[in-house]
Amino acid sequence: MQPASTANQTEAETAPTDLEGLIGRFREALAPESVITDPQRLRTYECDGLASYRVVPAVVVLPENADQVGEIVAACAEYGIAFVARGSGTGLSAGALPRSDGVLIVTSRMRRILEVDVANERAVVEPGVINLDVTKAAAPHGYYFAPDPSSQQVCSVGGNVAENSGGAHCLKYGFTSNHVLALEVVTPDGDTVELGGRARDVPGYDLMGAFVGSEGTLGVVTKIVVRLLRAPESVQTLLAGFPSTDEAGGAVSKIIAEGITPAAIEMMDALSIEAAEQAVRCGYPEGAGAVLVVELDGPAPEVEHTFAEVQRHCRDHGAFEVRVAADDAERAMIWKGRKSAFAAVGRISPDYIVQDGVIPRTALPEVLTRISALSAESGVRVANVFHAGDGNLHPLVLFDGSEPGAVERAEEVSGSILDVCLAHGGSITGEHGVGADKVKYMGRMFTEQDLDTMQRVRCAFDPDNRCNPGKVFPTPRLCGEAPGQRRGVHPLTEAGLADQF
């Protein structure tokens, strides 16, 4: 595990709260084993998939249905206590990092698939349902759920909604926001509301659009109506070995410039190939400086035609080996290497930071050169895995936490990589979210006014700042800085400088 550097919670003044009273309310509403207060048990919830941030929550609750979530959130509102929602705990930006004075609402027991409506191409699921299980339920009918983050075998659909998760195939199919029709949400004051609708278009403001990707700051999702897509008639996958990332990057640009939209184009560099090889023996081309995984799907004649084109572009750009998956088993093997890459890096380094940034695809060679320069200057190894098609980079910054100063050096390199992304007109996160980890970079990407405007949206949903406080935004503004019931009028309002929502 990564070293425990306890995150700095905003140590704002908190109103005295009656935690015992709140726990009593939880015990009335939930089964005894669904309220966790034992310190050792609580500690197992201190971090999500980003283990370098750790805070032990005051209490963990495991609701089994939407009504219980409503009761929990309403009780939190009544007692003025902050809460954080968590799904499978696989997030990579510490978005589900608990509060030591707050409640952690875990949806891992809400995992029923309530409806699979094949005729209308949709399914209704609870937030704890695992992403891949939606596809498993739809597959017998010839359908699937498109968002496929690498953690799809374990991450929850509720978490996908919070993070607006993507995945390898979002190049062609878009992010979670493109695959959600409606949400049932418990608002921070405990009301249950429906956002969006089962129809394809809903008049009025797109509140569901605001909610998807809000990283748990606007409420707790309790039901999700997802779109199901027809499984494509034909899928073709190839694995191409290149001498270096430059040639591979060139091939990516050419393929897309030619008007081909692959379902996915993924790139891995030599170091990440080495890790994946050790972890899952995926048998990638030996001696490759980079590999591309390209997948095409759609009607068989179209796939057949464009697949030949893709192979040609790969060879034209120096691919020394192009391997085509003959069947589902071989395709799975190709993907296994890519999808296990993050965790597999644990085999070649005791600790690592998974970075997540976005650049325009065309800037790829330049940015990669800059990253290797950063790595050379600092002596910090960086492995690269990316969704090459849409310019979403996942540099993996390797370090050994037991070496003095190593954490700081790694974090510096990791931060500098984001500066490089921003300098090339990119973004500080592609799909992992801001969470607690990237709060400090928000100011590099947005102006004060930008952040204030976003804060107003948040205040409309969560005026008391009780819903996953301290995440996404550097400093809470306008609508109360700290969790806890606000008493009296906010000084800014009093001074006539701000409105209260």
Partner: protein
């Protein structure tokens, strides 16, 4: 090794003797890929009953948290099925961690009176083939005299404590036991000499499996050496943290079965095989046995693994029928053997092989887990039985005696039944041409 706890300098859950290794704990990157693989996470959906959560608890213990009742409860809840090891992309050696932790729990944690009694009873009985065999007579009488039926109908059985009830329900129907010779000659040209480990439960309650193993190996050109009175291999003890006892059994087996005289050591019980392969770790501290353990373990093969390695020579006769193959955890996750048994079964003409949905999740047997944690084991058994019944197969194949007892009992609870056989029994029936009925109507 001594029975007295060795106090470590620092406070915390563990003492200095075989402490769960910090380096192994540090290999976990908290990605959560193990969660959906874990049977107890599947049941309860809570972090501390997941592999990642248990590793987190071990880390707390290393950081100074005491070995509390709640910590022990979550370690005890682990089935040791090793599905998480298969799922883990970071290669965390959970097997070593949980074995080290269980040994610490056994030495340092005082269990309640009834819990202790139950454990002593189990471990005074199961690792002793002779004592198990002595039970066969009374058990057969109990089953055939109508007493079992009477106890069930009178409602008296339902009044027994859950552990006793489980033990009663799991007892397999007793069959006549053919005695195995000490050496079985290879048929045709000899291709290898193999020593056979006969197991405890296997030899007492499933003697047909051992007989079939010897016949199949002989048909495939192996001289089979079967030392008598072998004793237990130590698997049950090791998987329950009874380290000293496991070491004693392991030494005993090494004394009986001289690996030097054979090309391979073959085992047909998945749980035992997994431990036999771990002897070097178990006996690492023993200067007299460490090297022998290494030499021995290199030769250990599950029977399906060996047959697949050697390749088929004996003719297979058709066995028309539909079978479902159940992966025993200690074969698939513990030893990584999944394709060999399937490949062997697919070689049999006219035999159709179905897969069991969610086949990688444990059936709940897990050594003596179903005796110690009857409730969780029962729930897992029910889920497994449902998936097994859904295959609509005529015969269920599994390579572990514990699994077959557990699944048979779970199917009975649903008012269903399915004949069961070990992989080698199917191969034996095909080689001998005795037909599928020889397996399903016994």
């Amino acid at each position: 090794m001594t029975e007295n706890p060795i106090q470590s300098a620092s406070e915390g859950a563990f003492d200095a003797f075989h402490t769960p290794q910090r380096e192994l704990v540090d290999d976990c990157v908290h990605c959560g890929f193990c969660l959906p693989a874990c049977p107890t996470y599947e049941l309860w959906g809570e972090e501390m009953d997941s592999p990642r959560g248990r590793i987190h608890l071990m880390e707390s213990g290393l950081d100074g948290e005491p070995l509390s009742g709640s910590m022990v409860e979550h370690f005890d809840n682990c089935l040791g099925c090793m599905a998480c090891v298969t799922a883990c992309p970071s290669g965390v050696d959970y097997g070593s961690l949980i074995t080290q932790t269980r040994a610490q729990v056994e030495r340092r944690h005082q269990r309640g009176f009834w819990e202790r009694m139950l454990r002593s009873t189990i471990f005074a009985l199961f690792p002793y083939p002779r004592r198990l065999r002595a039970l066969r007579g009374p058990l057969a009488l109990y089953q055939r005299s109508g007493m079992a039926e009477l106890l069930k109908r009178s409602g008296l059985l339902a009044k027994l404590p859950p552990h006793m009830r489980t033990m009663e329900s799991l007892a397999p129907p007793v069959r006549r036991a053919p005695k195995l010779p000490e050496r079985v000659k290879a048929r045709g040209q000899r291709r290898a000499v193999v020593g056979m480990v006969t197991g405890c439960v296997q030899s007492a309650f499933f003697p047909d499996v051992n007989a079939a193993t010897a016949r199949v190996l002989a048909s495939e050109g192996c001289d089979v050496v079967i030392p008598p009175a072998q004793g237990c291999c130590g698997a049950l003890s090791e998987h329950s943290g009874r380290e000293a006892e496991a070491v004693k059994f392991a030494r005993g087996l090494l004394d009986k079965l001289h690996a030097a005289d054979v090309d391979y050591v073959v085992i047909n019980s998945a749980g035992c095989g997994s431990t036999l392969k771990e002897y070097p770790r178990l006996l690492a501290d023993d200067p007299d046995y460490a090297a022998r353990a290494e030499h021995f373990s290199e030769r250990v093969r599950d029977v399906s693994e060996l047959l697949d390695e050697l390749g088929t020579v004996a003719e297979r006769h058709p066995l028309p029928g539909r079978i479902a193959y159940h992966d025993a955890c200690h074969l698939s996750h513990g030893q990584g053997i999944r394709s060999a048994p399937r490949a062997l079964l697919r070689e049999i003409p006219e035999l159709e092989l179905s897969e069991i949905n969610r086949g990688d999740i444990c059936c709940g047997s897990a050594g003596v887990y179903n005796l110690l944690q009857p409730q969780a084991a029962g729930q897992l058994g029910d889920r497994k039985a449902e998936n097994v019944a859904d295959t609509g197969a005529d015969l269920l194949i599994t390579a572990n005696p514990g699994c077959s007892m557990q699944i048979r009992t779970a199917l009975e609870r649903r008012g269903e039944s399915m004949p069961m056989a070990h992989t080698v029994e199917v191969l034996d029936a095909s080689i001998r041409g005795t037909g599928v009925k020889s397996l399903s109507e016994r």
